[in-house]
């Protein structure tokens, strides 16, 4: 009797468990009016969910990506600057004052009009809060009159309009900030406004009915944070999200052959690179750095570890840009492990104590290699660590969720990092940020007076051809002694359900949700 009871109970529990595994019932019942009345909701799964005050660090990327904010100018698919909230701009003869005409009829999410005064206030708020923006915009003063804004720069700034495309330059209504956390509820001009925002979990957005660019297609937009890329892939596969951004490159093959999904891809200026910490003893030797560069199998990393989404490069910039052509950087070594071994030997790196690792000056060659969890970076770094160990270098690998603290502490020899090198369609921002002495992104502590002088010239040069020439020269100097190693540029992709429209991967990686984004019918 007891046995039978146990069996029945076990069967009931099994049934319960199985029913929990069955597909969930549709959450929305069909409306009597038919499909046309069905609310258009859209769930966008992202692996890196950021707060969205555009002036705060890099949070503006989220503001743009989620369709909340907009900038005065934007970059087209060829990285050319085109007007967005502005209609156009003119430059004074002394090359110091830019007069920007604003688009008529643009309203903020609270109904206030976006006019010259509002843009002035927004830009002033930005340069007060964001050091990077202040140094790139070089704004001396701003004057506003009606629908025009006149920006006078402290020195001729040929890339002002490019810098105004940067996500940090999203225009916000400063008058609405009193008591409101703009990192959660910024008042901008985009097609969607934030209804609720739970950091690192999800954000719920609603359409902005008075959007200047037409009525947004969605009734409800959810941005869902799924930081584990494998979980994100599963969420995409089981239909939990309508589109996913930031998926691992390993998952490309899962979606490419499946007609339930479509993939949008674009070649981007996102480069995967190595920073050598030039403060560390072995890293101060250019020959040693060159040998490390020769151990990087860029081609295989791009083809195999990134499923073909990585294009090997010698330059920081993609070959589509005039200053990114690999042919200009002939001195940068190719993958040559045997050459690397010979170079190390030639420069006195030998295994004198027979422990299997090289040493020099009685010191074992030990490297601490760090990276963080961006798709493809850990894999490339692990393969590199293995290649270094093959060379006889005792390389230890560490991966961080957030690497900024480790980089600030300086406790590393080699760091694999990823940057968008032309975020505003110009070379200056990246070169200055990563190669300028003491600059925030100069994680290798690189400093070269020649490069400094060229950066200063690049900062004020208006001639496009000369700008390109300076960009090439700066890279040549930095690459001549292997102070940097650029591995590959990335084709980025988003996966979405078949039939999703108005969503495509942009070459600059920060234009995603638009007023036209719509789910599958």
């Amino acid at each position: 009797m007891k046995k039978r009871l146990c069996l029945i109970l076990a069967a009931l529990m099994l049934l319960g468990a199985l029913s929990a595994c069955s597909p969930a019932a549709p959450s929305q019942t069909a409306s009597p009016g038919g499909a046309s009345k069905k609310p258009k909701s859209f769930v966008f799964g992202v692996y890196n969910f950021t707060k969205i005050d555009p002036s705060d660090n890099y949070n503006g990327w989220g503001t743009l990506r989620y369709g909340v904010g907009e900038t005065l100018f934007k970059l087209d698919d060829n990285l050319n600057v085109v007007p967005w909230l502005a209609l156009g701009a003119g430059l004074s003869e002394d090359k110091l004052t830019w007069t920007i005409t604003l688009r008529d009829g643009v309203l903020f999410h609270n109904g206030n009009v976006m006019d010259g005064a509002a843009v002035k206030a927004s830009l002033e708020r930005l340069i007060a809060a964001n050091e990077r923006a202040a140094s790139e915009l070089m704004i001396g003063s701003i004057a506003a009159e009606g629908n025009t804004v006149s920006i006078t720069t402290s020195q001729p700034n040929p890339t002002l309009l490019n810098a105004l495309c940067d996500p940090y330059a999203c225009i916000v209504d400063v008058s609405a900030e009193d008591g409101v956390d703009f990192n959660l509820y910024p008042v901008c001009t985009g097609p969607y406004l934030v209804k609720s925002f739970t950091p690192d979990v999800e954000a719920h957005l609603e359409p902005f009915a008075q959007y200047w660019g037409g009525t947004p297609a969605l009734n409800h937009l959810t941005i869902k944070a799924i930081p584990d890329v494998d979980t994100l892939a599963l969420a995409m596969q089981n239909g939990e999200v309508d589109a996913a951004y930031g998926l691992s490159y390993d998952t490309l093959s899962l979606f490419s052959g499946d007609d339930r999904f479509s993939i949008t891809q674009a070649a981007t200026a996102r480069v995967y690179m190595l920073f050598f910490n030039l403060n560390r003893p072995f890293m101060q030797d250019p020959a040693f750095r060159r040998a490390l560069c020769m151990a990087v199998d860029k081609d295989s990393y791009g083809k195999i570890l990134l499923n073909g989404a990585g294009t090997p490069t010698k330059s920081a910039f993609p070959s589509s840009l005039s200053y990114g052509d690999d042919a200009l950087f002939e001195d940068v070594p190719d993958y040559d492990p045997e050459g690397a071994r010979a170079l190390l030997l030639e420069n006195g790196y030998r295994d004198t104590d027979g422990d299997g690792y090289l040493d020099k000056g009685g010191q074992k060659v030990t490297l601490r290699v760090v990276t963080y969890t961006r798709a493809g970076l850990p894999q490339s770094t692990q393969a590199l660590v293995s290649a270094l160990r093959d060379l006889g270098i005792d390389a230890a690998y560490q991966q961080y969720e957030s690497i900024s603290q480790a980089l600030q502490s300086g406790d590393y020899d080699l760091c694999a990092y990823s940057f968008v090198t032309a975020p505003t369609g110009d070379a200056y921002a990246f070169l200055s940020h990563t190669m300028g002495t003491g600059k925030g992104g100069n994680y290798g502590r690189y400093s070269n007076p020649e490069v400094e002088a060229l950066l200063n010239q690049l900062a004020t040069e208006f001639d496009v051809a000369k700008r390109a020439e300076y960009a090439v020269q700066i890279q040549k100097i930095a690459l001549a002694d292997s102070s940097y190693c650029f591995m590959f540029h990335l084709n980025m992709f988003m996966v979405m359900k078949k039939g999703v429209t108005g969503l495509k991967q942009s070459p600059v990686d920060y234009y995603q949700i638009t007023a036209e984004t719509s789910p599958a019918a």
Partner: protein
């Protein structure tokens, strides 16, 4: 001997043999590995099981079988080390607390209470998180959180044992405190502790693999079963063998040690009385009844 006990003994011998074979495999694993477990060869990445790679290759083209064989030493011996440390530390603290009592006992037992109030794995995660990544730190984290159960168990047995007549007899016989602890108390308290330790080996292997899976244990490219699972989980659908075989290895090893623990417990259980453990006869009894 009853039939059940005879079967239990055969099972124990069988499981002990298998465990010994596993330990032997851990020792000679690197010699048995058909390929270099650390050799990255991207051209051979994600290959299904074949003659050259019997269990396939991982996302870096490394032989899965070779990595399992080499990782066995790390995974199993690290777990045995954790159990050894926790057993020793817990046993010493518990015995001293139980025998001497007083302030030391109160302080340690409150500390034990605090440790036992948290789920073990959560506490280990916190400790490993504070210490940083690395297999050594993972071992320390698990050891730091594992000793209280042994301390509590040892103390409870010592509390009972110290009131036993043979302990009084030893005292009256003029034996020193350390001699009583080592010769009369510890041998009697050790048996339940060994049973607990043998039962926790499997759990510790899982714990270590779990920490490695979460990136707090063995560092890449070290071959360790948990980190192999972690490395391969992104390819679970495209190349299932990368996670299937390390997972299966962990499963079988944990089952083996759990069954072994059960058998040890059965074998050490008293057959003739209802006490939790059978007392080790004090040696002086052999010489005759002590003079009281």
């Amino acid at each position: 001997m009853t039939r059940n006990r005879r079967f239990g003994r055969v099972r124990l011998i069988l499981l002990l043999t298998l465990a010994a074979l596993l330990c032997l495999l851990c020792l000679i694993g690197p010699e048995l590995a058909p390929n270099d477990p650390y050799k990255v060869n991207l051209l051979q990445a994600k290959q299904p099981p074949s003659e050259k790679f019997p269990l396939g290759t991982d996302g870096f083209g490394r032989c899965v079988l070779s990595r399992i064989l080499v990782g066995a030493r790390t995974s199993v011996f690290s777990a045995l080390l954790v159990v050894g440390i926790t057993l020793t530390v817990g046993c010493v603290i518990g015995t001293l607390c139980g025998y001497f009592g007083g302030a030391v006992d109160t302080i340690f037992m409150r500390l034990v209470d605090i440790f036992l109030a948290f789920p073990g794995m959560v506490l280990a995660l916190a400790v490993a998180g504070m210490l940083g990544t690395g297999l050594g730190n993972a071992v320390i984290a698990l050891a730091a959180t594992g000793w209280p159960q042994y301390a509590r168990l040892a103390r409870s047995y010592v509390l009972t044992l110290r009131e036993e007549n043979f302990v009084y007899a030893a005292r009256l016989n003029g034996q020193s405190t350390w001699s009583i602890l080592l010769r009369h108390i510890l041998p009697n308290a050790l048996r339940p502790l060994i049973v607990t330790a043998s039962l926790s080996i499997g759990g510790t292997i899982l714990g270590l693999a779990g920490l490695s899976f979460l990136g707090l244990g063995a560092l890449p490219p070290a071959a360790e079963w948990g980190s192999m699972l972690s490395d391969g989980r992104g390819l679970m659908q495209q190349a299932p063998w990368i996670v299937l075989y390390p997972g299966l290895t962990i499963f079988l090893t944990v089952v083996l040690f759990n069954l072994l623990g059960d058998s040890v417990r059965d074998a050490l259980a008293p057959a003739d009385d209802t006490h939790l453990f059978r007392k080790v006869r004090p040696r002086f009894k052999k010489k005759g009844t002590p003079t009281l």
